[in-house]
Amino acid sequence: MSVQQQNNGSSREMVRAEKIVKRFGNLTVLNGVDLSVKRGEVVVVIGPSGSGKTTLLRCINHLEKIDDGRIYIEGELMGYREKNGRLVEDSEANIARIRSQVGFVFQRFNLFPHLTALENVIEAPIHVLHEPRAEVTGRALALLDKVGLADKANAYPHKLSGGQQQRVAIARALAMNPKIMLFDEATSALDPELVGEVLKVMKQLAEEGMTMVVVTHEMGFARDVCSHVIFMDKAVIVEEGTPEQIFEHAQNERTRNFLGMIS
């Protein structure tokens, strides 16, 4: 079956991961993980530390190479192309092009410290999408306003709190008009009192219909916002379903143990 046929009739599918295998040396971090995210869906990934959640997100936008399986972003094979029936590494330009449509929010923000908040946001649209600076700046200011940081446009990251930095990072990703946003424990590095302001932004995004994959330990957020919960443990998806199925009627004992432990 060719790539094309496989993806017909699934145009609403923004991310599709098939049997992803990822190893670091002898350690298998993802062992046949499947994932499907439809347009407008918010998928939350939960699971104990070291279960492979971060690695899964990083594989989706090809920050990590996968050892087996396939990942499609809107039907396009990510990171590889088919050549004589075999997969070979895709060109850098192609990988970058697909990545530019996938927003990634890091646990540790990773703002560019030598640029102001505004400069952080306009950097990629100007230099990657080659959009006119004036236009981008207008959009960037609107985005900073949206995340509640209109007054911090000219501040350097080190002058911002963790919560503010993470909101700038979200605005930075949004400035690329991504088709999907990936959040890797976006609030884990924050002081407890700053978590709410970031979750609020994420919640608003979800309500506006943004397609999102969210790795988080914030079960409240998962319950309120998401349409699908995935529980991972030891490199595999143990159980998945609606928030109600997972949070109220988990079938698997590992899921119940995990949920019992963190709530």
């Binding site: 936008n61 990545r99 560019f112 410290p113 102001t116 002058k159």
Partner: protein, 259 residues
């Protein structure tokens, strides 16, 4: 008998500006060789850090060779060896070209290690964030990583240039009349070699001292505490770092305007 008159003459009263011209030679050779060395070092560092063996292998070998053998030998290899390698005894690189090539190649090896240390000092999350925004490697390097690495690269780069100013004396062995060569040639002709070496030393000290001031001024500009203070001015990062036309906050500018 030491002749102070001679020293005085060549320092202040030489109508031919013999040493001034020699100092100028020393200076431009240093500047050009350092610039070439920085550019070469940048590419060597990137090659050296590549995961492809056919890129990092040659870079390793290059750095190993040029850091592991004396510059003097490298100059002589180029000067005496090149005409023989290409098997044409009439082919001669002009002395200045030979020196520039040898110095640049050598400096490139040292700069490669300095640039590599600078790039390594930047958190890997910076490159990943840039890539996640759709930047390609070269763009991410240029716009995101190198500007941050510059903070770490520039202080040792300044020391390299200080060294370079003095190391140019090696050029005298192939007869290029920079400061040391000038002192030697004119000194031994007129039996005042010691006097002229003193003159050359004064010029070397002048060059390195002036550079020392420029260096500390640049490093002061790079001081993170300073960036915090200047962060409200809207200039580009490069302008801020090199301080083109930006008034010193709370400094002379405010005092002057208060008057």
């Amino acid at each position: 008998m030491f002749e102070w008159n001679t020293v005085w003459h060549f320092l202040f009263a030489d109508p031919n500006h013999l040493f001034l011209i020699a100092a100028w030679r020393t200076l431009w050779i240093s500047v050009v060789a350092q610039l070439c060395g920085v550019i070469l070092g940048l590419f060597l560092a990137l090659m050296r850090m590549s995961r492809f063996p056919y890129l990092n292998g040659p870079a390793r070998g290059y750095i190993w060779f040029f850091r592991g053998s004396p510059l003097l030998v490298q100059v002589l290899l180029l000067w005496d060896g090149l005409p023989r390698i290409i098997n044409n005894p009439n082919f001669l690189l002009p002395d200045w070209a030979c020196i520039l090539v040898a110095f640049s190649l050598n400096e490139g090896a040292y700069m490669a290690e300095i640039v590599r240390a600078g790039i390594t000092s930047v958190d890997v999350g910076q490159m990943e964030a840039a890539k996640s925004l759709g930047m390609r490697y070269a763009l991410a390097m240029r716009r995101i990583v190198l500007p941050q690495a510059a903070r770490v690269i520039i202080p040792p780069l300044g020391n390299e240039f200080n060294n370079m100013l003095k190391t140019t004396s090696i050029a005298s062995v192939i007869g290029l009349l920079e400061l040391t060569g000038t002192a030697e040639v004119y000194g031994s002709q007129n039996f005042v070699i010691f006097e002229l070496l003193i003159v050359a030393t004064v010029f070397y000290l002048l060059l390195t001292t002036i550079w020392g001031y420029i260096q500390s001024w640049i490093e002061n500009r790079l001081d993170p505490n300073r960036t915090i203070k200047t962060e409200l001015d809207q200039k580009s990062w490069a302008a801020r770092m090199l301080g083109f036309g930006s008034p010193r906050p709370g400094g002379a500018g405010t005092l002057a305007s208060g008057r």
